[in-house]
């Protein structure tokens, strides 16, 4: 699916996407959060982008871990510790690996989910990024079981992530800032579920 070189390309694509979608993500965060999701992720991934050239030739574990640590120290909002922990834990799971196949990718997403659950003390159906992450993982796991090719597996994941993000409009947030807004947050799509869906979409584009 992806060697370390491709992983760097993926990270670069994600960084550009976060910059491109910065205003949209912040706009989503306005009615239910503190209007910083896009700005924060934009800043974090800009810092990540600057580190990429120094990561050439490194294994996938090191790349993911560095991305995570950079996000933690530069994002400045909840997405820093959340995505930071996700990338750092995924990096631990991929330590020493130069190549990742689709099974490794499932491990990466599963590890990332566990990291977000632990850091955010959240579960699905609370209108968080987990509502895109978990369905995308389940769809990809199912597609792998059905013997589908990596490209189709990722497509299934992206589709499930976006419908998961859409579903957050029907959920009352019980975690994060949005929990203060309560049921007034109904009808608003969670910014974290949206940024995750964008990320998975970039992974699918670069590897497909």
């Amino acid at each position: 699916m992806a060697d370390s070189k491709k992983v760097l390309k993926i990270i670069q694509a994600i960084s550009l996407k976060m910059e491109e979608q910065k205003d949209y993500l912040t706009e989503l965060d306005q009615p239910i959060g503190d209007s910083d999701h896009g700005i924060n992720l934009g800043r974090g991934f800009a810092a990540v982008n600057e580190k990429l050239s120094g990561l050439e030739g490194k294994d996938i574990g090191t790349i993911l871990k560095t991305v995570g640590m950079t996000l933690v120290s530069t994002v400045g909002g909840a997405s820093g510790p959340l995505y930071g922990s996700a990338f750092m834990k995924a990096g631990q799971a991929m330590a020493g690996k130069e190549d990742a196949d689709i099974t490794d990718f499932l491990t990466i997403i599963k590890t990332a989910i566990e990291a977000v659950e632990l850091r955010g003390k959240a579960v699905v159906e609370e209108a968080t990024m987990l509502d895109a992450m978990v369905p995308s993982y389940q769809a990809m796991e199912q597609a792998v079981k059905e013997g589908k090719a990596a490209e189709e597996v990722l497509n299934a994941g992206v589709k499930a992530a976006w419908s998961g993000a859409e579903h957050t409009k029907d959920l009352i947030a019980t975690k994060g800032r949005a929990s203060y807004v309560g049921e007034r947050g109904l009808g608003h799509q969670d910014p974290g579920a949206t940024s995750y869906s964008f990320m998975l979409e970039e992974i699918s584009k670069v590897t497909g």
Partner: protein, 126 residues
Amino acid sequence: MVGLVIVSHSDSLAKSVVELTKIMASNAQIVSAGGLEDGSFGTSFEKIKAAIESVYTDDGVLVLMDMGSAVMTTEMVIEMLEDKKVEMVDCPLVEGAVVASIDAAAGMDFEAIKADLSKVGGTRKF
């Protein structure tokens, strides 16, 4: 003396909380870690880490935070300082800071201050 750190999304809020504690506990070792490096709202891993280190002694450091990323970012800093005696306390920020600074300045130890702070959230204002 137990060190204290106030973490907030707002630099001026964190600084003001520290100032407020000085009225009753001018000797307390208490510092703020509010906002991002450029002064905008948010929580900074580096600022929190530096603040903890600036008041750290073997007596330990207690950290009081506002909400959300303040908690998660502090948690990550503490995980990285794994061999150090640093803990977060879950209590109202202003009242907790006042109680903690008076206790710390009076020489109370880490566990005793934590026990005191655990009661702060349950104390009714009227």
